[in-house]
């Protein structure tokens, strides 16, 4: 009886595994492939003929003597259209051709940023644009979003929803700049570093407040996050008008640029890619360390366990409450650093609501990345690119049918992309199972 029953189980699980592989990719790639074909047709038939037929260039460095790639927009976009039609068909035929077609699809998507730029050049009077510089500013603008999404990860992976990232950044930015203005007149180098440290600590304090509200008092975590956002907005507004403005130091000296030894000496691109500001570079380190600690160390395993099933974590002797506090506050430190980017690095001053929803976009990046550090980083890059692109497009003065697109339209771009990405592109992502649920230790 038992052996018979076992073989039933075994047989069933094997057959399930075999069936589920092709079943999983199901019909999704048909739609995706069809969309690519459609995009290709639109590019070929409607877009390419309407572009200016003059030589344009992607440059790798600045004039007067740039290394550049020259092309005629109608040809370029037309070829791109043909390329997308091909990739679309490959994708539709994936079942027959094998999974290598996936790479074609990925290449197609990765090519889109350049395509957009080529189209813009085809409607602009400027003869070329620097793409390395665009990449650099994408990375720079991605900094607070990437850092904010790491904050989100440390918080949500341990089970606490954090929509207070925005407020945490803003509070840190405001208090850090105030410190800089009061202690160092917005110019002293040592006071600048002290202020970065203050930003980090303030971020930790705001996160601690979120932790106390949601862990100790079991308040609804969304509401706790909203409280933090409102608190930061009010507090920094007050400090700006009552302290910063009165101190007379409205703007200061931002964090200095420096070059990474050796790498910054690479010809053509080295002095663009590897010369930059400290918080921007620290961001890569934070993402890497987040991945390393969260996925490769015992403590990271425990953090994730607390976010999935705190009761199970408790039964193996993990102190869930303490782990939650530590992880949330660690995330707060990171958000504090992101705050310093706003008021000490990208510009040395403080304005009301200067974080401008970056904290919420960071959450979108985290969801886009399905709660993984590298995925969230990719999401942050996407938003950083959207942000850099909108300035670039304003600069190119793109006109469509004789009508110059207003800058407000381009400023909308990052937010429009947020909505599209979160609503459509991200497949079903599963958040940590215990996220948002209050936990009480057994007694």
């Amino acid at each position: 009886m038992s052996s018979a029953a076992d073989s039933v189980n075994a047989g069933r699980s094997v057959s399930q595994k075999r069936v589920s592989r092709p079943g999983q990719s199901s019909t999704k790639h048909y739609y995706f492939g069809a969309a690519l074909v459609l995009l290709g047709l639109v590019l070929l038939i409607f877009v390419a003929p309407n572009l200016i037929d003059e030589t344009r260039a992607f440059r790798l460095n600045k004039p007067p003597d740039p290394v550049q790639f020259e092309f005629k927009p109608p040809t370029f976009v037309g070829l791109a259209g043909a390329f997308y039609i091909l990739v679309g068909f490959l994708t539709v035929l994936r079942d027959r051709l094998g999974s290598w077609t996936r790479f074609a699809a990925i290449a197609g998507v990765a090519f889109m940023p350049l395509l957009i730029l080529a189209m813009a050049l085809g409607r602009s009077d400027l003869s070329g644009t620097n793409v390395v510089n665009l990449l650099v500013s994408s990375l720079f603008l991605a900094t607070p979003i990437a850092l904010g999404s790491m904050t989100g990860l440390w918080s949500e992976r341990v089970g606490i929803i954090n929509i207070g990232i925005e407020g945490t950044m803003l509070g840190a930015a405001g208090i850090a700049y105030m410190t800089y203005a009061l202690v160092g007149d917005g110019a002293e180098r040592w006071a600048l570093w002290l202020s970065v440290l203050v930003a980090i600590l303030v971020g930790g304090l705001f996160a601690l407040l979120l932790a106390v509200l949601s862990i100790r008092f079991g308040i609804n975590q969304i509401i706790a996050g909203v409280v933090i956002n409102l608190l930061a907005l009010g507090l920094t507004g007050f400090l700006r008008s009552q302290v910063i403005v009165k101190s007379g130091v409205g703007t200061g000296v931002a964090t200095p640029s420096f070059g990474i030894p050796l790498l910054s000496k690479i010809p053509v691109i080295g002095d663009q890619l590897f010369v930059g500001q400290p918080i921007n570079f620290a961001m890569y380190l934070v993402v890497f360390l987040t991945w390393l600690v969260m996925f490769k160390t015992p403590w990271g395993l425990r953090v994730r366990a607390c976010g999935e099933d705190p009761h199970a974590a408790e039964t193996v002797g993990i102190n869930v409450i303490r782990t939650r506090y530590m992880s949330v506050v660690l995330g707060g430190f990171i958000a504090g650093l992101a705050g310093a980017w706003f008021s000490l690095e990208s510009s040395a001053r403080f304005e009301d609501n200067m974080t401008n929803a970056a904290g919420f976009i960071a959450l979108a990046a985290m969801i886009f990345g399905k709660w993984t550090p590298w995925g969230a980083f990719a999401g942050a890059l996407l938003f950083g690119y959207a942000d850099a692109l909108q300035t670039r497009l304003q600069f190119l003065k793109v006109d469509i049918a004789g009508f110059e697109i207003p800058s407000e339209f381009w400023q909308m771009l990052p937010f429009a992309i947020t909505i599209l990405v979160v609503a459509g592109l991200v497949g079903r992502a599963t958040p940590p199972a215990a996220e948002g649920k209050p936990f009480q230790a057994s007694q």
């Binding site: 018979a4 079943g23 002797g317 199972a433």
Partner: protein, 518 residues
Amino acid sequence: MTTPVLEVRNIRKTFPGVVANDAVDFTLMKGEIHCLLGENGAGKSTLMNIVFGLYQPDNGTIEVDGEEVSFENSRDAIAAGIGMVHQHFQLIPVFTVAENVILGSETTKGKLLDLDAARSIILDLGKRYGLHVDPDAKVGDLSVGEQQRVELIKALYREADILILDEPTAVLTPGEVDDFFEVVQSLVQQGKSIIFITHKLREVLAVADKITVMRSGTVVGTAEPSTSTQQSLANLMVGHDVTLQVDKTPAEPGETALVVSHLQVSDTRGLPAVAGIDLEVRAGEIFGIAGVQGNGQRELVEALAGMHKIDGGRVQMLGVDVTSMSPRQISELGVAHIPEDREKHGVVGEYPIYDNLVLNRYFKAPFVKRGVRQMGAIRAEAERLIQMFDVRTPSMDTLTSSLSGGNRQKTIIARELSQDPKLMLVAQPTRGLDVGSIQFIHEQIIALRDSGVAVLLVSAELDEIMSLSDRVGVMYQGKMVGVVEAAGATRETLGILMAGGTIDEARTDGSEHRGSSR
């Protein structure tokens, strides 16, 4: 077998409104399998959670190897050599087996996790105790039996000498239970001592060296398996004489109440789970469906209850075509459903008991008037049902999630029977319940049948199927492989059908198969 490894004295533990343990003494000897018996809510899990350091007792002492200990948390208990496999598995589905095993006491290389080391330890333990499982599999993809092995490996990895197994067999298939007992025997041979909680008296008599029985938070006696019978243990547990045999008269089937034709249903992953089933159930009869879990029974019942999309075929209930009806519409026809997954589909744990008791009627008079809930009527009805079905709870305002498993099940049954059903869909009605509750529920089901209700019963317990059903169908890989009259069915015949054999094989080769089975 002479030295005590664990001695618990005078333990008391109260929860708001409940004395879960009172003056409990318990002694575990080295190398013994000690069965802990007791009704649902008797306080067994509570006692074990205290021994494992999860709960702090209000009073009393614990000694391990003759030395008094006091555990702040389960880390301390683990350090003292105690391991526990919980009634509800404490595993993280998205983690791999290796990650689950090492969580909390990780293998490391420098400051980083060392999963390679974990893998080899798991494979070693697997070899030593016969616990085979792939260290890299995701726990969520494993069968319940495999998950249980992971729990055991977790305890052994922490070098537990005392193993607490809280109802480990409740969720296992018969084959898995046999394998499980082999593992338990090998553990004892290697010097471990085991506390084993179960409601299945047959298992107790088969494996126990010693038996302790609890009732209402206190120890009411100990027994030796050699001098006990299932009957004597049941009586000791419940406190009065119980009948283990189900009494029933032959069925008097009436009109056909449920007609299922060519039914096809997919499971949650979109794979076919029910592959063309035909069946009929008539008023006044119990149609039992036997089968190893995972052969489509769950999807069948959920599809009939309207909770699962039907891919093909038709379902007719009480003369009405319900193929594309919603659960509410089906319920309104007079169809009651006792779902397999109690926590997910049976009760809302965060609601008080009174709300759960009217969950199928809260939108109707007298429980609502002009859109306003009538708390008086709701509470009166809850009071009536709690009395009638003997739901043991400090009050009707208690959160349903803090009830013991048996009382939760009684809550569901009370609610479902309260609207005079004509057809009942019953899945695993007594899983994890004590003998008293099982008897009670069985009586209810028989009484319903006798009053002319049609009952479709799905159960993984062959005993239950055989003692309740009038006709038995066996499901295998989504198909009904045979339907037999209950009177002529034996464990062997059903076993062959459950393993995918044919009716003819079952009739002729019954004896041979019996020979090859354990």
